[in-house]
Amino acid sequence: MAELKYYIIRRILTFLPTLIGLTLITFVVSMLVPGNPARLWAGGIKASPEVIEAVKKRYHLDEPLYMQYYYYLRNLLRGDLGVSPLTHRPVITDIMSYFPATVELAIFAELLVILMGIPLGIISALKRDSVIDHAVRVFSLIGVSVPVFWLGLMLQWLFYYYLGWLPAGGRGPAPPRIYTKLYVLDSLLCGRWDLFWSNVAHIILPAFTLAYIGVGMVARVTRSSVLDVLSSDFVIFLNVKGLSRLSVLRHVIKNALVPIVTILGLEFGGLLGGAVITETIFFWPGIGRYAVQGINSLDFPAIMGVTVLIGLIYIIVNLAVDLLYAVIDPRVRL
């Protein structure tokens, strides 16, 4: 256990430079973008010069870039991501209010990826060249070749406009008491089945849209991984031992999962990083929407806040993937 603690600390320390590099790059890029942020933040073309000056002072916009970066980093280390000149709220508060929606959507999408992608991959490997195998292949191909916005719009059209089964978009109703900020879960915790179903109905289309590419990809990787394992010598020996078909399959699947863990992890990181297009199509009030809004209005603190958040997510996901590896594969040493 002590080993584990040191490992995690070591990993976090090695990620600090990454994080600094990340903030530096976004900082520089955001400064290179044309536009006059001081004026914009002060209220646009009509803003008076005095107000613009005040804004410049307040956000250190009149100081050299390296000083601005210094202030930013200093605040960041204190957990202060700055104040959004647009919403006049601390960026951290904004993020906290947008992020849970994204987390909820990402969890649902990831569940779909796992619960559909892995079984589909296993079946197509076991029933190689069967109708199912070909169907899964086509499904995956569609996943990588159809643009997300088109898929989202088509689903919206079909289930909302044509069939009328599901809402067009937006997040479901908030449950009376908030525990985790994940509405589906909170509805359950409140014992409100009506809210639970309503929230599921709201989340299912965006989650599926988001998951679609991942399902196909994971199915393909699982298939080839299972086939790989099936042809290895130890599977022959498992059969020689006279194990039941099911027991042999358990060995095969566990071995096949090792490479899939990485993909699932990166996939989840990507999902958390904000699904800009999906969130936009389905009016999902998540971090992707917040980022777009920030970019459109040159809201640097917001842009950088989201960037740092995404960087952190990748760091954590990477760490989690490595730890998970160590759990399933005894050959992996931390």
Binding site: F234, I236, F237, V240, K241, G242, R245, P330
Partner: protein, 323 residues
């Protein structure tokens, strides 16, 4: 040993691989009888079908291979007629097998002990605890040092020789009647090879298990086997008592094989090749498959496949020279 009751009889076995290039006749019309308690060696050049034959006995021929014809009578039962579920009961418990490369034979994600006990639990209704007890005993039997600790070791924590001992203990865990060892030492260091062979010989003596050794190594044959079968291009061409075979080889191919080894005492010499090449198994030569490489080839050899002839004392040979 000879004349004792037979444990395995293979009759007219054909195993074909249906590949894109054509049908590979890996095993064709193969006949073989193995007696209870003996150590039987199967020798022949690489690709002649030794492994495929013995895997057919377990009905584990890898795709695209298929057992096309034949009978495999084990302990009075035709294995090829059994439903798959019954066959699984025989695998591991009545017939077992160890492979050439112990490094790839074990599942890397499970401990040696787990992989041993799961075999026991698959066949016997015993508690987990007594299965682990049995596994510990087995590890002692195959002379694994510190067996308690080794039970909890993962394959990557064991050396090659140790892994082969684990594999052997798994193969022996249910006291099988027939143990097939497919080149069990080829992948190991020379000193470890000798130890593993010694172990197999001991176990064979102690438990009276019938041992079928597939090997390239004539030294091992001379050392361990009671009887030998020589395979060529998918069929058995000669079977005899080990002394008889070395002293009085009849088939020209066997003679070539024996000439090719420098001395019987050097264990590590692999078979040197005999002039000519192994025949194409998709379109094998007509008649005797060895005739293109045979210095005694006659006209009849090109037309007719020779039948197995009993030359007395259980010495069988498939060659027109003796008909």
């Amino acid at each position: 040993m000879r004349g004792g009751d037979e444990i395995l009889r293979i009759e007219g076995l054909c195993v074909y691989f249906y590949t894109y290039a054509g049908v590979v006749r890996a095993v064709e019309d193969l006949n073989l009888t193995i007696y209870r308690g003996e150590t039987f060696a199967l020798v022949g050049e690489t690709g002649c079908g030794k492994s495929v034959t013995m895997r057919a006995v377990l009905r584990l021929v890898p795709p695209p291979g298929r057992i096309v014809k034949g009978r495999i009578i084990f302990d009075g039962v035709d294995l090829l007629k059994l439903p798959e579920k019954e066959m699984r009961k025989i695998r591991g418990s009545k017939i077992s097998m160890v492979f050439q490369d112990p490094n790839t034979a074990l599942d890397p994600l499970y401990t040696a002990g787990y992989q041993t006990t799961e075999t026991i639990l698959a066949h016997r209704k015993v508690s987990k605890k007594s299965a682990w007890q049995r596994a510990l005993e087995l590890f002692k039997v195959v002379e694994i040092p510190e067996p308690k600790r080794r039970l909890r070791a993962y394959p990557h924590e064991l050396s090659g020789g140790m892994k082969q001992r684990v594999v052997t203990s798994i193969a022996l865990s249910l006291n099988p009647k027939l143990l097939i060892a497919d080149e069990p030492t080829t992948a190991l260091d020379v000193t470890i090879q000798a130890q593993i062979l010694e172990l197999l010989r001991d176990l064979q003596r102690k438990y009276g298990v019938t041992l079928v050794m597939i090997t390239h190594n004539m030294g091992v044959v001379a050392d361990m086997a009671d009887r030998v079968a020589v395979m060529y291009a998918g069929s058995v061409v000669e079977v005899a008592d080990v002394y008889e075979l070395f002293g009085n080889p009849l088939h020209p191919y066997t003679k070539g094989l024996l000439r090719a080894i420098p001395s019987l005492t050097s264990r590590n010499e692999r078979l040197q090749s005999i002039p000519g090449t192994v025949p194409n198994m998709i379109r094998p030569p007509p008649g005797c498959k060895f005739h293109p490489r045979c210095e005694y080839a006659m006209d009849v050899c090109k037309r007719e496949r020779p039948r197995m002839i009993d030359m007395g004392k259980g010495h069988l040979v498939a060659c027109h020279l003796y008909s």
